[in-house]
């Protein structure tokens, strides 16, 4: 039995660490689906001026040739100009780094940000690309056969769950 | 050569006989008994019946001589248990000249397989304008006159052609289809054609032309045979005409007993036929009419088509199905579905067509020509390219399993086909 971190308990610490990074050019983008939920909470907690951006990386994944479009992609909405921004890219779990690679490629098709900082709730190691997060909620060790997922209850509370990797 | 076939179940549709027995053959005819047969064939577990008589099978000669069509298609005929067949005049060139008819008969006779009865063209080049020299053509061997699938739009010409044929007692075989209503159509005008976006041929294209043909037959007294009925409405017309005493006979293609437009599926060009496959209701009416005798005979309407003429979008594909080798098992399947006895069912492919053709064969009786088929009614076989002797592999039943297989076919007492 692996002890999973308490997602809700990590939020205040994450928000506090982010506070220091927020400036006049900051804007936040959450990655569907877990990253989007997390970003919604953080965005509210931080009271950011710019509206929240939400991104689906379906069209930038590197496994399209093997898997096809795996599920119904959501519509990416970035309601501000990316040009010259200090972006806070938010995702729930950082693992191989491929999702973040795809997200950055997609972001650059919107414009040229001044900087991108990666914010994750959990870092489970196992990187396959040279990617790292600037703000991490907790480090978790997860066996290769399992997937670490963020879930949202009916009342909006976030929690971690382990699933068998497909 | 004298021959004895013993131990088989002998079925003679003409007399209704269906019992185990033996049949003796000498000098090409069936005889009462034989002292010392030169050969004995064991027919245990098999059915011995008159060989099938097919009123429509295309041999593609004249036209495709270089492909040795006559050889392969007559081989297919006897492998299918067909000892006599009538071939339509839509050869290339059409059978509108005595010389062509003569050559065809000679070639066929030389091959010593099935008996070939050519049907002559009713009009020159089948163009529907000028009468052919029917007397000369009959002298050369034509048994009847027909337009095959070519339209005859001018009703004046149709009337005169029937009058002329009636003068000499020549039968006229016609497929009833109004050329204007059928123009451009490739499938039955119904729900399936609508869904598939295919131009349709309404069933009244058949009934309107049929009514015309029946009226003219009444007026001229010609012996009319209606080919390839395709709709319930046409069956009703024929039934009414027969009831009022008109001398008319008709046939149905074996595919139309089993398939309907729904079988086109995803544009299967093997189901592109003339006339088109119609609705399930029409199919049912045709199957029932053949059973009750309103339809006199079933034909194969054998039409071998090369692969590259079928591997085309449905509407562009050449119509027709290869059917000589499927006639027997498909007739047996129809009989089983209708609950008919073997004798009743086989009558539609033996004694019935014999009557229309006016030939002696088609029955098992002393003195009759020894045209016989010995088959296993239970043997299952798969329709594959290799299994078919015809050069036409175009059949909707490709890959299907059929029941009923010919073991031997005799024509004039000669074993012209024997399964290995």
């Amino acid at each position: 039995m692996i002890a999973l971190p308490d997602a809700e308990a990590l939020l205040p610490g994450l928000a506090e660490a982010l506070c220091a990074r927020i400036g006049p050019r900051s804007a936040m983008i959450g990655l569907y689906t877990g990253g989007a939920w997390l970003a919604e909470r953080l965005h509210a907690m931080l009271g950011l001026a710019e509206p929240l951006g939400l991104m689906d990386i379906a069209f930038y994944r590197d496994d399209y040739a093997q898997q096809g479009l795996k599920h119904d992609p959501k519509r990416t909405r970035i309601p501000f100009s990316v040009e010259g921004r200090d972006l806070l890219l938010v995702d729930d779990v950082l693992y191989t780094g491929r999702t973040v690679r795809a997200a950055m490629n997609e972001l650059f098709d919107y414009g040229r940000p001044r900087s991108i900082a990666l914010v994750v709730l959990a870092d489970r190691g196992g990187r396959q690309l040279p990617i790292c997060a600037q703000v991490v909620g907790a480090e978790v060790v997860v066996p290769e056969t399992k997937r670490l997922r963020l879930k949202r209850d009916a009342d909006g509370r976030l929690r971690f769950e382990l699933e068998d990797a497909a | 050569m004298s021959l004895l076939i013993r131990g088989a179940r002998v079925v003679d549709p003409a007399s209704g006989r269906d019992a185990p027995g033996e049949v003796a053959i000498a000098a090409g005819r069936i005889v009462e008994r034989l002292e010392r047969p030169a050969r004995v064939i064991d027919g245990h577990g098999l059915v011995l019946a008159p060989a099938l008589i097919d009123l429509s099978a295309r041999l593609r000669e004249p036209g495709d001589e270089y492909k040795a069509r006559l050889e392969s298609e007559l081989e297919a005929a006897v492998a299918g248990g067909v000892a006599s067949l009538a071939c339509p005049p839509d050869t290339d060139p059409p059978l509108d000249e005595p010389g062509l008819v003569d050559m065809l008969r000679r070639r066929a006779r030389a091959l010593s397989r099935a008996r070939v009865y050519p049907v002559g063209a009713l009009t020159v080049k089948l163009a529907g304008e000028q009468l052919t020299e029917m007397v000369e053509l009959a002298a050369a061997g034509c048994v009847a006159f027909s337009q095959a699938n070519a339209p005859l739009r001018d009703t004046q010409v149709l009337w005169r052609a029937m009058q002329y044929a009636a003068t000499f007692g020549f039968p006229v075989w016609l497929r009833a289809e109004d050329a204007w209503l059928a123009a451009g159509g490739v499938a039955h005008d119904g729900e399936v054609a609508t869904r598939l976006g295919l131009p349709g041929v309404p069933d009244f294209a058949e009934t309107i032309a049929l009514a015309t043909a029946l009226t003219l037959a009444r007026a001229t007294g010609v012996r009319l045979h209606v080919c390839r009925l395709s709709s319930a409405a046409a069956v009703d017309l024929v039934r009414a005409a027969k009831r009022e005493g008109l001398t008319v006979s008709c046939d149905v293609a074996v595919h139309h007993l089993h398939l309907s437009d729904a079988d086109i599926g995803d544009f299967d060009a093997n189901c592109r036929l003339e006339p088109p496959l119609r609705s399930a209701r029409d199919r049912e009416a045709l199957a029932a009419a053949l059973a009750d005798g309103t339809i006199d005979c079933v034909v194969s309407d054998h039409t071998p088509v090369d692969e590259d003429r079928k591997q085309l979008p449905f509407g562009e594909a050449e119509p027709g199905a290869s059917a000589l080798e499927l006639l027997l098992p498909l007739v047996l399947r129809w009989a089983a579905e209708r609950g008919l006895s073997l004798a009743e069912a086989l009558a539609r492919a033996t004694s019935g067509p014999a009557r229309v053709l006016g030939v002696e064969a088609g029955r098992i009786a002393p003195g009759a020509p020894a045209d016989l088929v010995l088959f296993d009614p239970q043997e299952k076989w798969r329709v594959t390219r290799e299994a078919l002797r015809s050069q036409g592999k175009n059949t909707p039943f490709l890959g299907h399993e059929l029941t009923g297989r010919v073991r031997a076919t005799l024509v004039a007492g000669n074993v012209v086909y024997e399964a290995r």
């Binding site: 689906d56 379906a58 069209f59 930038y60 399209y64 040739a65 093997q66 898997q67 096809g68 479009l69 119904d72 992609p73 959501k74 519509r75 990416t76 909405r77 490629n105 997609e106 098709d109 919107y110 414009g111 | 005008d189 119904g190 729900e191 399936v192 054609a193 609508t194 869904r195 598939l196 976006g197 295919l198 131009p199 349709g200 309404p202 599926g265 995803d266 544009f267 590259d308 591997q311 085309l312 979008p313 449905f314 509407g315 562009e316």
Partner: protein
């Protein structure tokens, strides 16, 4: 049950040949994916790298600039390479068979064939003969189907009206010769549309429409009453010969969509047309350019829908 040629063993879309036979989930998936592509068109870089390195061959045996152009735009927005083949002018004229043409192109490493052909069923013949990694998208075959048009029409209706179940959709005009109408009818019935109506003279309505789930009207005024969506079909010049119709003017008198007739539909009804329009024949200019018309948005949606179809069929080896 014969397996559907369009779907692979796992039920994924491999070819798009017709809306008929597509499970509802597949249609919903295409529409949802198109929705996300709509966002791509709104950015500066209107491209995603999904089909980078893939080749899309536009095989148009029937000429068409509009449809071919939208497929080309859609393919390029997916970063695919596009090759346009105007077959009418080349190999077919030399008598090359359909399958030979496809085999030759296949030897040039094609991934997607977008096919438009004058004969119903032609894309099926092609789909039965392509290699496993090749995909066929039907851009219109004879009178049979125009599935991407049907899908973009469904997308348009969903965009403006949401749920299909309460809707009355009226299709007006030459349904007999229309592949657009057939595809739309299949899509509407699969998505559970409240009522699908066909309006036209007997000569232009095919046999057996009721069997497809359509209510037939010969009077445009009764047919349009309380309609939520009106789809006007193009009337082609050829219909004026061949004893189907006496003249364009007479057709407009009985079946043209005027503002007065449009007023019989619901107040928020939308007017659609697959294009190109014959102003004054099937539709009044004022209506075509009026507030109910969504004819131009249809074109934009068409690009997103075609991007969705291409990315779904081409995904996964």
């Amino acid at each position: 049950m014969r397996p559907d040629l369009q779907l692979d063993a796992e039920g994924r879309l491999r070819h798009l040949l017709s809306i008929e036979g597509l499970p509802r989930e597949v249609i919903e998936r295409i529409l949802a994916t198109a929705e996300s592509f709509a966002g791509v068109t709104e950015r500066d870089i209107k491209k995603v790298p999904l089909l980078r390195g893939k080749s899309v061959f536009n095989l148009f045996f029937e000429p068409s600039t509009r449809t071919r152009t939208t497929f080309e735009i859609a393919a390029k927005r997916l970063s695919a390479d596009v090759i346009n083949l105007n077959i009418a002018a080349s190999s077919q004229a030399k008598g090359e068979s359909l399958l030979d043409t496809v085999a030759n192109l296949s030897a040039m490493q094609a991934d997607i064939f977008v096919v438009r052909h004058a004969s119903s069923g032609a894309p099926y013949l092609i789909a039965r003969h392509v290699k496993p990694h090749e995909h066929v998208i039907n851009a219109g075959d004879g009178r049979h189907a125009h599935p991407t048009q049907g899908l973009l029409d469904l997308y348009t209706i969903r965009h403006y009206k949401g749920d299909f179940s309460p809707l009355v959709v009226a299709i007006v005009g030459d349904l007999a010769h229309s592949r657009v109408a057939r595809s739309l009818i299949h899509g509407l019935t699969t998505l559970g549309t409240g009522e699908v109506r066909a309006i036209g003279p007997q000569t232009l309505l095919p046999t057996g429409l009721q069997a497809l789930g359509v209510r037939v009207f010969h009077d445009i005024r009764t047919g349009l009453r309380d309609a939520d969506v009106i789809v006007m079909l193009r009337l082609q010049n050829e219909r004026m010969s061949g004893a189907l119709l006496p003249s364009a003017q007479e057709y407009f008198m009985s079946y043209g969509l005027t503002a007065e007739r449009l007023a019989l539909a619901k107040p928020d009804a939308i007017v659609m047309h697959p294009g190109p329009m014959n102003r004054g024949v099937e539709i009044d200019s004022a209506v075509a350019d009026g507030p109910h018309s969504v004819i131009l948005p249809q074109v934009t949606f068409g690009i997103a829908v075609r991007m969705a179809v291409m990315s779904i069929v081409a995904g996964g080896a």
